[in-house]
């Protein structure tokens, strides 16, 4: 009997707290209800908080679920940028207040939280997303409510939403130059390996067209389900095809399994070139530098990139989050996004979306990767492209770089061979 009483008391407390929590949120939601509805449907979301000395900005990355592996560090970098800006006096004399939400590696959740950030928290802008799917899920929300999203990861291109700024590379700032470089330096016969989702499939479609146009040869193409962990069969398929280059678009965790097992099969970077577009410093830590030594990657930024801005960035990042942490391309892109937005707001003198977009056109900033410029037309940024080789210490050595910044071209309009890819846009 005593046990029963005890457990029902426990449950009562539990359900009460649940109901209270529910009411709490309802109250929070009710207060601006009438106004909120108008603002949301009215279209223009000014985002600036009228209440004095603060500007709210949203941070929306996966803090749980499978994508947390990658997104947590970008989230950290964005928070660091906000802190730095606040330490220098904020934006327009106001302090930035981050509102953090968890996308939970689930695309509808990203859409829900984006909607919440814009309509309830009235954030001036949102920094967030990693996978293409999460961006595609958020895109209609930002367009509908006229919000502003800064997306910090390299992606498959063929998109330019008026409500999104893309601070990662599009295809002509990563994949296309990498393929050209490989054809010139490492061989003609390509094997395309990727995870089964949108980025690898679209990227490989582009690569195949490019190979045709630039005299390459396709030795094979293979996609593995997300979370695939056994690559023995794939590796024997690759061995049989005997390519000069494996162009690797595998996603996070699968890279670990692939490279560990590739090494076990006795294939080293000397035997076969692999170039990855989703393996950065942070992934190297999880795979092991001894496994990856000599393999290649294409990015716009490495921790070893030699600019004065990068020195301070890396120092600050390590000082804040621990000496064992590393910076990487998406982390830098997230950090850059915050600064670019802040600069645009200063220039516009307001956080109004239309004003910020107008001010952002042609905006320049000295990012850790070098000087970046916002392209007013497609809202991507000019970036330098770099090919790096993994060293024994887990860092990249830059083998080649474009030197100057490459103009973003998400629809590959500047490439004749890509005409068939994008009738849209």
């Amino acid at each position: 009997m005593r046990k029963r009483v005890w457990s029902s008391v426990l449950l009562l407390v539990l359900s009460l707290s649940l109901i209270l929590a529910g009411c709490g949120s309802n109250n929070g939601g009710t207060a601006p209800a009438s106004g909120g509805a108008e603002t949301a449907s009215g279209g223009s979301n000014s985002g600036s908080s009228g209440d004095g000395s603060e500007i709210k900005v949203g941070i929306l990355h996966s803090l749980s679920g499978t994508m947390a592996i990658s997104e947590k560090s970008v989230h950290d970098a964005e928070l660091m940028a906000i802190e730095e800006i606040n330490a220098k006096g904020g934006v327009l004399g106001k302090k930035l207040v981050p509102v953090i939400e968890d996308g939970a590696s689930d695309w509808p959740t990203f859409a829900e939280k984006a909607r919440k950030l814009i309509s309830e928290d009235k954030v001036a802008t949102v920094f967030g997303g990693w996978t293409s799917a999460s961006r595609k899920a958020m895109l209609p929300v930002f367009e509908e409510m006229n919000g502003l999203l800064w997306y910090p990861v390299q992606y498959e291109g063929l998109e330019s939403s008026p409500n999104i700024f893309y601070t990662g590379a599009t295809t002509n700032q990563q994949i296309v130059p990498a393929v050209t470089w490989l054809l010139e330096n490492r061989g003609k016969k390509f094997y395309l390996l990727g995870s089964d989702y949108v980025f690898p499939r679209t990227a490989n479609k582009i690569i195949k067209e490019q190979l045709k146009a630039e005299g390459g040869e396709l030795a094979g193409e293979e996609y593995t389900p997300l979370g695939h962990t056994d690559y023995s069969t794939i590796i024997s398929k690759i061995q049989q095809a005997d390519p000069d280059v494996v162009f690797n678009t595998l996603n996070g965790d699968s890279n670990v399994a692939f490279f560990k097992q590739l090494k076990d099969a006795g294939i080293t970077a000397q035997d076969m070139t692999t170039l990855s577009v989703s393996v950065a410093e942070e992934e190297i830590r999880g795979i092991g530098a001894d496994v990856l030594e000599g393999h290649l990657a294409a990015w716009n930024y490495y921790q070893t990139t030699d600019t004065p801005e990068n020195k301070t960035f890396v120092e600050n990042y390590k000082a804040k989050y621990g000496a064992d942490r590393v910076t990487a391309d998406p982390i830098e892109a997230g950090y850059t996004a915050v600064y670019l937005w802040a600069a645009a707001v200063e220039k516009a003198g307001s956080t109004d979306v239309a004003a910020v977009k107008e001010a952002a056109k042609g905006l320049e900033w000295n990012a850790p990767e070098g000087k970046v410029t916002i392209d007013g037309e497609n809202q991507h940024i000019y970036k330098p492209v770099r090919i790096g080789e993994v060293q024994a210490d887990g860092q990249f050595k830059e083998l080649w770089s474009t030197g100057e910044e490459v103009k973003p071209d998400p629809y590959l309009k500047g490439y004749d061979w890509a005409a068939s890819l994008s009738s849209g846009g």
């Binding site: 679920g65 056994d230 560990k260 097992q261 090494k263 006795g266 830590r285 999880g286 092991g288």
Partner: protein, 302 residues
């Protein structure tokens, strides 16, 4: 010819990994009827234990000793997962005997908590485990056919684990008590077997074996908070296909899935191969609902 040889080896290797992740489940699910959705997280705990052991070796011992950390990591992983399994059994599982579907839901909650705990303690990104140098490289059987030592090592590890489990369950007094309790709890209790203690021990052993699997998987795959989610469904498929309650069934189940998977993956693509394997499992269970090796029983409502 070489390809055939290599693929045969790959098939056996994949089977051995499947068997390793399913063995613990064959005990907790097969013998005890607890649908432990946190099994994957116990594997993760084993993997993180290996990571911690490695770090301790790096800090405390000279570099020449580093290669030996892995030998120590196996029992450490077993023990850590064993203890956590014991705690789980004591605080949660014991309330759930006899209602397996509830155990599924409750352990799902446990899995969520353990994942988030790992994220909090070790950080969200994957961690790296450097495999010992004596496991690098492979055995060259013929030109172009290399059997990696790591995969050979895992096959051997599975064989040894299986042998020890066989000795324990079928040739020791403790194992006899375990089987007695699992087959007829009331009768065993009447004969003076402490069913509580047997339950706790059995669950902990199943968990410990998951820990060993986690340790072995650090050689081949990623080590991160969501590691367990990649293996949990496969593990259940192996146990169900093999037939619940029989160790030998689990062995056949793993071999069946591993070899079929390799063949399909080679012939078609990795995605399609996976689909075909699962279609085969569904079709096979229609034909033999109790799996490859069924427990004979005369009960109607077993």
């Amino acid at each position: 010819m070489e390809v055939l040889f290599l693929q045969l080896f790959n098939g056996i290797s994949v089977s051995s990994i499947l068997l390793l992740i399913a063995l613990g489940l064959a005990i907790t699910f097969g013998l005890m009827n607890v649908i432990n959705m946190a099994h994957g997280e116990l594997i993760m705990i084993g993997a993180y234990s290996t990571y911690v052991t490695q770090n301790i070796f790096m800090d405390l011992f000279p570099e020449s000793m580093f290669g030996w950390y892995f030998v120590l990591a196996i029992p450490v992983s077993f023990l850590v997962a064993f203890v956590i399994g014991l705690i789980l059994e004591f605080t949660l599982i014991r309330f759930l005997y006899g209602r397996p579907l509830d155990s599924l839901l409750a352990t799902w909650g446990v899995a969520l908590v353990l994942q988030q705990l790992a994220r909090t303690i070790f950080g969200a990104p994957n961690v790296g485990v450097t495999s010992p140098s004596w496991l690098n490289g492979g055995l060259t059987v013929m030109d172009g056919v290399v059997f990696p030592y790591k995969r050979l090592f895992i096959i051997a590890l599975v064989a040894i684990t299986l042998f020890i489990m066989y000795l324990y369950i079928y040739r020791s007094n403790a194992g006899r008590r375990m089987r007695a309790v699992m087959q007829n709890r009331d009768m065993a209790a009447c004969l003076g077997v402490s069913t509580r203690r047997v339950d706790a021990l059995t669950f902990a052993i199943g968990s410990g074996i998951a820990g060993i699997a986690g340790c072995a998987l650090t050689l081949l795959g990623p080590i991160g908070p969501s590691l367990g989610t990649y293996y949990i469904v496969d593990a259940f498929m192996v146990v169900v296909l093999g037939g619940v309650g029989k160790l030998v069934g689990t062995v056949f189940g793993a071999l069946g899935i591993g070899v079929t998977n390799t063949v399909f993956e080679y012939w078609t693509t990795a995605s399609l191969g996976k689909v075909l394997v699962f279609v085969c499992i569904v079709a096979f269970l229609q034909w033999r609902p109790k799996g490859l090796v069924a427990m004979r029983t005369r009960q109607l409502d077993s």
